[in-house]
């Protein structure tokens, strides 16, 4: 019974994804969505992957990491090296990028996740910068002038597949006993430990999975823009991702997706007013934090049930009004 219910919602989500894909792909083919918005749609997908994966670390496991752009950079460069220097196919390059970022995440997570709160934030911030500056000084990958001549393999279809895949996998993780273990660490680390949960293991696991998906996002990124440049992966990028996580709600996947779409869209819409862009962006965030500090969705998920409750509520309201 329960199983049937789950499969049914999964199937519905799959159909919804297919519909969204068909509509956007149709609009692209019909030339209604031009190259500028195509680029931004791909960016939205990449940002969703980044935000959902960072939310796994920051929102669900409750660890404060702000070095996500570093892992994205590792993914971007490793995959670029694989496809340019070794002529590997795209999927292998992406797998390599994910693996590279994941391994680094594991190696870094093991010592730094002993820290918590502010200390972890500082450590991950430093880590992101170390990665960027290391890349800057490796002439094999182009150093300061960036890694050029990367083939454009990423298109809307690939982006869509990987975005859906990321959300699917991370959502499944959250809904399992492993995900519950991570959430229990956020809720109360001492109690989690007293319930037989190896907290260090799960912190490192969440960090590794998050880093690996940042690597996927990086791979898609470098294979869309022909170039991987260290300047794309500064701590400003990390903050961008973090902003989206907080805006959407720590611990809400649907919130992350909404925030990634919204903020990428706003920053694209404001692209022709560069002097106003950061101001409007910042004011928006200040207002949101004043009136909704828990983020758009808090730690709740947007679901059909919730939607029907809202619309149901509105219907009741209107009948009462009559």
């Amino acid at each position: 019974m329960k199983l049937l219910q789950k499969t049914k919602t999964d199937l519905m989500a799959l159909v919804a994804c297919a519909v969204v894909y068909a509509i956007i792909q149709g609009l692209i083919l019909a030339d209604i969505i031009g190259p500028f918005w195509q680029l931004n749609i791909v960016l939205i997908g990449i940002n969703i992957i980044l935000v959902v994966s960072l939310n796994l670390i920051n929102g669900f496991t409750g660890q404060f990491s702000i070095g996500h752009a570093g892992f994205m950079a590792v993914g971007a460069y490793v995959s670029a090296v694989l496809s340019v220097k070794f002529q590997m196919p795209f999927l292998v390059a992406i797998a390599g990028g994910a693996l590279g970022a994941g391994v680094l995440g594991f190696a870094i997570g093991l010592p730094t996740l002993r820290l918590n709160g502010d200390y972890l934030a500082i450590a991950t911030l430093g880590l992101g910068e170390i990665i960027r500056i290391s890349i800057l000084n490796i002439s094999y990958v182009g150093g300061a002038s960036g890694f050029m001549g990367i083939p454009r393999y990423t298109n809307f279809t690939w982006m869509f597949i990987f975005t859906v895949f990321t959300v699917f996998v991370i959502k499944n993780f959250i809904d399992s006993t492993h995900g519950r273990a991570c959430i229990s660490i956020r809720e109360n680390e001492i109690a989690a430990e007293a319930m037989g949960i190896d907290t260090t293991r799960y912190k490192v696991l969440a960090f590794t999975i998050g880093a690996a998906f940042a690597g996927v996002a990086g791979s898609l990124f470098s294979h869309y823009f022909y170039i991987a440049h260290p300047a794309s992966f500064t701590f400003m990028k990390s903050f961008d991702i973090l902003t989206m996580v907080v805006l959407g709600g720590l611990g809400s996947i649907t919130g992350s997706i909404t925030a990634a779409i919204l903020l990428t869209f706003v920053s694209a819409a404001l692209a022709s007013y560069p002097e106003w862009r950061m101001i409007i962006y910042s004011v928006m965030l200040i207002i949101l934090m004043l009136y909704r500090p828990q983020g758009l969705f808090g730690n709740k998920e947007l679901s059909l049930k919730m939607l029907s409750r809202w619309t149901g509520g509105k219907n009741n309201g209107s009948t009462q009004g009559n």
Partner: protein, 254 residues
């Protein structure tokens, strides 16, 4: 053979000897109380037994094995579960999820099975849910399974914490002031519940408590802790009449 045996357990924080020469021996199936004035080191003793602190000296044997130096989660996995003096629920999660988490280390499906929802994932998740609900039914919390834990009334939060500890399926249950903040009637119910779960789950229980009616009412044997050392042990009646215990609680006669 003793289920839990602590010998000459001591811990020093800076210059303070919070617990020194702590000796207890608990046989399987016993219901033991640990009492003592405020600041005597009762909770510190619990933290030593559960691995939160590592003892400066001394030995702890559980089920025939030394557990000194193990991490708290390893000790829980060996069969010691606990509750906390200041309730530590997973406050923002539902009542049901709180209990489900305690099942964690009994779950067998692996990471890959959970990422792609294959293999044992579905059958085990269903089983976890079912068992968690059974536990909640025992503690009369089943109808509140979807409520957020922090929204429960105080007494129910205490009950949920005990339910959660039991869901980890321990051999030894440590209760840190389970009756704190309860009124006499609730305390009475709690007493009956403690007796009942002990038989039902075949448990051994060690409890810290200030409420003398509860301790004297349910415990078969009592240890008294003062200034970090055990000053007396015996049946409730022996303890009531022990001059050293009276002195510890009421002060010396002039």
């Amino acid at each position: 053979m003793a289920l839990l045996k602590a010998t000459k357990l001591s811990i020093v924080f800076g210059g303070l000897r919070a617990v020194s020469n702590f000796n207890v021996e608990i046989a399987p199936g016993e219901l033991i109380g640990l009492i003592g004035p405020n600041g005597a080191g009762k909770t510190t003793a619990f933290n030593l037994l559960t691995g939160v602190y590592e003892p400066t000296e001394g030995q702890i044997e559980f089920d025939g094995q030394s557990i000194v130096g193990m991490k708290p989660y390893q000790i829980t996995q060996r069969g010691i579960a606990r509750t906390f003096q200041n309730i530590r629920l997973f406050a923002d999660l539902t009542v049901l999820d709180n209990v489900k988490i305690a099942y964690h280390f009994h779950v067998k499906y692996g990471l890959m099975e959970s990422l792609f929802r294959i293999g044992r994932y579905h059958s085990e998740e269903d089983e976890i849910e079912q068992k968690a609900i059974e536990f909640l039914e025992i503690f009369q919390l089943a109808d509140k399974k979807d409520e957020i834990a922090k929204n429960l009334p105080y007494g129910e939060q205490r009950r949920l914490e005990i339910a959660r500890a039991l869901a980890a399926q321990p051999k030894l249950l440590l209760l840190d002031e389970p009756a704190a903040g309860m009124n006499p009637q609730e305390t009475q119910q709690l007493m009956e519940m403690i007796r009942w779960i002990k038989d039902k789950f075949n448990l051994t229980i060690l409890l810290i408590e200030h409420d003398m009616s509860l301790v004297m009412g349910v415990c078969e044997r009592i240890y008294v802790l003062d200034y970090g050392s055990i000053i007396a042990q015996g049946t409730p009646n022996e303890i009531k009449n022990n001059p050293r215990v009276i002195e510890a609680y009421l002060g010396e006669e002039v």
